[in-house]
C-alpha cells in the first residue's frame, strides 16, 4: 500500500510529464526525515508532522521543478537519468550529513500501534491505517484526475502540449503543480511508511526498483492501474517471502520480466503514443 502511494506519485510525474525521474525516492525520503524530525525535535504529533512534511516537500518539489527539471524536459533520456542520479547522490550525502547513516526510529502514536479489530480479526492498527489511507487516496486521485477541471488540463497538457497552450492552459503552471502533487504523494508515502520502510540515507537507491516496477508494469500515467499493480506486487511479494524465503526476490523479478515480455508498455490503455 505504501508502494502504491510512492509509485502513484511517480506515475504522475513520469506518465504525465514523461520525465525519467529516478530521484522520486528522494522526495519520499525527505518526507520521512521531515516527519521524524518534526516529531522528535519539535514534539509535533504524528498526523500534523506528516502534513507539515508533505507540504514542505511539495514546495521544494515545485521549486526544483521550476528551476531545474523544467530545463530538461526536452533533453535526451540520458541527461534526465544522470540528473536524477546526481540528485539522488546529493540528497544521500545531505541526509547522511544531517542525520547519520542509521535508520530513523519513528514513534508511532498510541492509537496506531497495537491491534485493531475490524470484524474479521485483529490486525495491527498501523497496517489497517495504511491500507485505508491508500484506498481513500486512490479514490481521491481518480476523482481529481478524471473528474476535475485541473485533471483535465493535466491530461490535455500531456497529450498535446501545443494545443493545450493554444487553448489557454498555462502548461508550465500545470506541470509545476502536478510535480508538486507527485512529490507530495511521495512524501506522504515516505512519512506514513516510515515504520515499515525505514528512513535511512540509502532509501532512494534501494527502493527505487520497486516504484519503477509498479509504474512500468501498470503503464506510465495509468494511475488506476498503479493501484492494482502495487497491491498485486505487495501480495505476491509477501506470499513468496513467507512460503519460499530461499527464493527471495528472484521470483518476483522474473515475474515482472515475464509480464513485461507480454506487455512491454504495461497495462496502460493504448492512447496515441
Amino acid at each position: 500500500m505504501i508502494l502504491y502511494l510512492l509509485a502513484v506519485g511517480l506515475s504522475v510525474t513520469l506518465g504525465l510529464m514523461r520525465f525519467i525521474n529516478l530521484a522520486h525516492g528522494v522526495f519520499a525520503m525527505a518526507g520521512g526525515y521531515l516527519t521524524v524530525t518534526a516529531m522528535a525535535r519539535f514534539g509535533i504529533p504524528f498526523l500534523p508532522s506528516v502534513a507539515l512534511a508533505v507540504v514542505l516537500v511539495a514546495l521544494a518539489g515545485m521549486l526544483l521543478e521550476r528551476f531545474l527539471y523544467r530545463r530538461l524536459y526536452q533533453a535526451p533520456i540520458l541527461e534526465q537519468v544522470l540528473f536524477s542520479i546526481g540528485l539522488i547522490f546529493v540528497s544521500i550525502a545531505i541526509a547522511r550529513y544531517f542525520f547519520g547513516p542509521l535508520a530513523q526510529p519513528i514513534a508511532l502514536p498510541p492509537w496506531l500501534s497495537g491491534p485493531v479489530d475490524i470484524g474479521i480479526g485483529a490486525f495491527p492498527a498501523y497496517r489497517v491505517f495504511l491500507i485505508a489511507v491508500g484506498a481513500m487516496l486512490a479514490l481521491a486521485i481518480w476523482a481529481a484526475v478524471e473528474r476535475s477541471r485541473f485533471g483535465a488540463s493535466i491530461r490535455a497538457a500531456v497529450d498535446n502540449r501545443r494545443m493545450a497552450e493554444a487553448v489557454g492552459i498555462d502548461v508550465n503552471r500545470v506541470f509545476m503543480i502536478s510535480f508538486g502533487l507527485g512529490t507530495a504523494l511521495a512524501a506522504l508515502g515516505g512519512s506514513l511508511g516510515a515504520d515499515l520502510l525505514p528512513i535511512y540515507p540509502g532509501y532512494p537507491n534501494d527502493y527505487l526498483v520497486y516504484f519503477l516496477i509498479v509504474v512500468a508494469v501498470a503503464g506510465l500515467g495509468n494511475l488506476r492501474g498503479a493501484f492494482f499493480v502495487a497491491l498485486a506486487f505487495g501480495i505476491v511479494d509477501t506470499t513468496v517471502r513467507y512460503f519460499l524465503p530461499e527464493v527471495g526476490r528472484v521470483l518476483i523479478f522474473l515475474l515482472v520480466m515475464a509480464v513485461l515480455f507480454h506487455k512491454p508498455h504495461g497495462f496502460a490503455p493504448r492512447t496515441e503514443a
Binding site: 533533453a75 546526481g86 547522511r96 550529513y97 526498483v209 512500468a216 528472484v250 520480466m257
Partner: protein, 315 residues
C-alpha cells in the same frame, strides 16, 4: 580534425607510460584499466545504441563470478578464465536481451535494474557457489599463458590488464567504425526510420548487447583474477551507476570517452575518499549535475571544444 591514429597512439603511450611514471600506483592503474574496459563496453550500448541501461554490473559481475569459480574449481590459467567470463556474460545477455530489448526508456531502465538485482540476489543466495555476502574467496591464479607469474608488486597484473584493454579497444574501434556500428548510431538517432529502411533493428541491438556484455564480462574476469576475490557488490546497482558515471564523465558515444572518464573517476575517488570520505557522494552528485547542465558531452567534448578554439586562433 585530429587524426584518430594520433589519439590511439596517445592512449597506447599513456598505457605504457603509466607504470613508468607512477610505479607505486600499479594497483590503482590496474583498476583504472579494468574499469575503463567496463565503461567502454557500456559505451557501445549507451553511447552508440542510445539504450540507457543501469544493469551493466550484471554482466561485469557474472564475468567475475564465472572466472572466479572457474579458477577455483577447474583451471587456474588466466586467459582461459577470460574466455569463460566473457562467455558467461554473453549468455546472460542473450537470455536477458529477449526481454530487455522489447522495451525502451523507463521500462528498459527498470528491467536492467531488475536484472542486476536478480543476479545479485542469486549470487547472494547461492552461497555454496559464490560465497554469498562474503564474496568468492581463495582464488589463486596460475601464470598467464603458463609463462608470466603474477607478482606481488602488481606488475604482471597491470601489463596483463593493459594488453587486454588495448586489444579490446581495437575490437571496439573496429565494431564502432564498421557499417554495423554506423547502423547502431542510425538506430539511436531514429529507430523508426531504420525500421523503414529495412534494417534488422532487433538483431543488431541484440548483437550489440552481446558484444557489450562479453567485454564487460572480460573486465569482470580480469577483476576477479587480479584481485583474487569477487565481492558481492561487483553486482550492485551502485556499481552500475558508477560505470555509467565514468562513461558520462568521459563522454558517451565519443570513442575515447570511457578511456578518459574511468581513470579520472578512479583518481578522484582515490583522492577524495582519502581526504574527505563522507562527502564523496556529494561531490559526485554535484559533478553529475554540473555535467548535465554545462557539459553534456563529458570531458572529451570539452577537450574537443578547447582544441577547436586553439586551432582557430592559430589560423
Amino acid at each position: 580534425m585530429t587524426s584518430t591514429r594520433a589519439l590511439d597512439g596517445l592512449v597506447l603511450a599513456a598505457l605504457v607510460a603509466f607504470p613508468l611514471l607512477a610505479p607505486g600506483y600499479l594497483d590503482l592503474g590496474t583498476r583504472m584499466v579494468i574499469l575503463a574496459l567496463c565503461a567502454m563496453s557500456l559505451d557501445l550500448l549507451v553511447g552508440y545504441c542510445g539504450l540507457v541501461m543501469l544493469g551493466h554490473a550484471a554482466f561485469f559481475g557474472t564475468g567475475a563470478y564465472a572466472a572466479g569459480i572457474f579458477a577455483l574449481r577447474a583451471w587456474d590459467e588466466p586467459l582461459a578464465g577470460l574466455v569463460v567470463g566473457g562467455a558467461a556474460a554473453a549468455l546472460l545477455a542473450v537470455m536477458s536481451g529477449v526481454v530487455l530489448l522489447r522495451s525502451r526508456r523507463l521500462t528498459l531502465i527498470m528491467l536492467s535494474l531488475a536484472t542486476v538485482l536478480l543476479v545479485q540476489e542469486a549470487a547472494n543466495k547461492m552461497t555454496w557457489l559464490t560465497g554469498g555476502a562474503d564474496g568468492l574467496q581463495g582464488i589463486s591464479m596460475g601464470p598467464v599463458a603458463g609463462l608470466f607469474v603474477f607478482d606481488l608488486l602488481g606488475r604482471v597484473s597491470y601489463v596483463y590488464a593493459a594488453v587486454v584493454l588495448a586489444l579490446s579497444f581495437l575490437a571496439f574501434r573496429t565494431v564502432v567504425d564498421s557499417t554495423f556500428g554506423r547502423s547502431l548510431v542510425g538506430i539511436r538517432e531514429n529507430e523508426a526510420r531504420m525500421h523503414a529502411l529495412g534494417t534488422p533493428v532487433d538483431a543488431r541491438l541484440r548483437t550489440a548487447l552481446v558484444i557489450s556484455a562479453t567485454l564487460a564480462g572480460i573486465a569482470g574476469a580480469l577483476q576477479a583474477q587480479v584481485a583474487e576475490f569477487v565481492a558481492l557488490n561487483a553486482v550492485s546497482v551502485e556499481f552500475s551507476g558508477e560505470i555509467l558515471i565514468m562513461l558520462i564523465l568521459g563522454g558517451a558515444g565519443r570513442r575515447y570517452g570511457a578511456l578518459l572518464g574511468a581513470p579520472v573517476y578512479v583518481f578522484m575517488q582515490d583522492y577524495l575518499a582519502r581526504e574527505d570520505p563522507t562527502n564523496w557522494y556529494l561531490w559526485i552528485g554535484l559533478m553529475l549535475l554540473a555535467i548535465v547542465f554545462f557539459a553534456p558531452g563529458g570531458l572529451t567534448a570539452w577537450l574537443a571544444g578547447l582544441a577547436r578554439r586553439v586551432r582557430r586562433t592559430h589560423e
